[in-house]
């Protein structure tokens, strides 16, 4: 698996988030190991994106504590967290290479070119983002995110808008780079099969709480075999409430 030690460690302690009266996250306690690949799944509006935004520091928790790298002050600092959004969010007035340079410390051109090479887009460095396809734009965004060698990469459904084939390519690219560089990844997705394909651990959020935390004990690269289907069904059943115990419990509440 990935190299241990390069990635960030993450601790969420009794984290809650309200927007006015509305409780988005009830209570989240979560520890993420260095270099782990976590997928957070759930229905839309369950609070999974909010969780990611809290970790990214784009929003502050109403209660609780989020600590990144608490054991190792040397590598702490939000400068090592990078986010890949659902849209590529490239600056349209900068060329591909200039966009990647934003992600490097001190706008380093060589590092930017290197990152662009990692995602296989070196030959497009002088193009305007407008001339790239959706998948290429996300690859540039990925290069920008990786250019500073982050310890924590947050992915907010970055593949949601891509076509099926490009999506698989991107998944493989992300997995490969993660294995090579050993950063910690949190991937938010509504696609259970994507979560099972990529993650060490899949976390299901329902109504603002973690309702499932499942380790995926499958070898990489993952084949879509019976083991894969097992995990996929397990998680899907839980999401869709098709699970046996759920019916029993529901019945139990009826007086």
């Amino acid at each position: 698996m990935s190299e241990i030690g390069k990635g960030a460690m993450l601790c969420l302690n009794h984290v809650r988030k309200y927007f006015g009266e509305k409780r988005i996250l009830q209570q989240v306690d979560l520890t993420i190991e260095r270099g782990e690949f976590i997928a957070v799944v759930g229905r839309s509006g369950c609070g999974k994106s909010t969780l990611l935004r809290l970790i990214a520091g784009l929003e502050q928790p109403s209660e609780g504590l989020i600590s990144i790298n608490e054991n190792d002050p040397a590598t702490s600092g939000s400068g090592h967290t990078r986010v890949l959004f659902q849209e590529a969010r490239l600056l349209p007035w900068k060329t591909v290479l200039q966009n990647v340079r934003i992600g490097t410390p001190g706008k380093d051109k060589a590092k930017a070119a290197e990152a662009l090479n990692l995602v296989g887009l070196s030959e497009r460095e002088d193009d305007w983002p407008h001339f790239l396809s959706g998948g290429q734009k996300q690859r540039v965004a990925l290069a920008r995110a990786l250019a500073s060698k982050p310890t924590l990469l947050l992915l907010d459904e970055p593949l949601g808008a891509l076509d099926a084939l490009t999506r698989i390519e991107m998944q493989q690219l992300i997995e490969r780079l993660w294995l090579e560089q050993g950063f910690t990844v949190i991937l938010v997705t509504h696609d259970v099969s994507e979560a099972v394909a990529l993650a060490d651990r899949v976390i299901l959020i329902e109504d603002g709480v973690i309702s499932l935390d499942k380790r995926i004990a499958l070898d990489r690269p993952r084949e879509r075999d019976s083991g894969f289907a097992y995990y996929e069904n397990l998680i899907l059943n839980k999401v869709l409430g098709r699970e046996e115990p759920l019916f029993q419990r529901t019945a139990g509440y009826t007086i």
Binding site: T81, V83, F85, E87, K94, I102, G103, W128
Partner: protein
Amino acid sequence: MSKPKIKYNFWVSPITPWLLPVVLLLAWHVLTVTGIIPANKLPQPLQVVKELIVSVKSGVLLDNIAISARRALLGFLIGGGIGFVLGLINGFSSKAEILMDSSVQMIRNVPHLALIPLVIMWFGIGEEVKLLLVSLGVFFPIYLNTFHGIRSIDRGLIEMAKVYGLKGLDLYKEVILPGALPSILVGIRYSLGIMWLTLIVAETVAADSGIGYMAMNAREFMQLDITVLSIIIYALLGKLSDSIAKGLERWLLQWNPNYSVAKK
């Protein structure tokens, strides 16, 4: 069968936009030479050309153009500069907007040329009149478009910039200004039109030099050809400044598919 290859494309030729002006010019010539339009209503084009040569030789014309251009430019820089800065401030800060925007909107709805009697009483026919009026006229389009440009920047890009640690001047230089630029350039283009319009009016009623004065002064001596010459010069100057603004758009907005000519 051999088809003749079409080399000349009417719709992309740079000559095409000038066809209509040339036709109008020819019509003007024919109508005045034949006397259908009498000479005391409209001079012949050739007479205007003769007047052009005379006034260029005497230096009067170029002097007046220089004076007018200087006023236009200075007024544009002052009014446009203030409009740009105020647009930036109010675009950034909702507090500043609350404080100032309604006042700006009230003043905007007063036609600035209605202030002519007032400013003549203040400054006579001094340079201040022209500068003040041009500045005021130019101010609003640039203010509004800068403000709008900043407010309509994609929030996602600003959020992205923050994740990447862009702050203060960098954020402004890399994200906010380029993002607002298309809108600002629309403001500039629009205000250039207002700039000439205001200057013509101001020079016509309150000046002792400049092209507007030249036109108005010629009226006193019934020098129709000079008046018409002045009007044509205004048209050409307006076209020139619009072309400069257009070139600026094409150069600064290369990244934008709506402006870029061709880039592979």
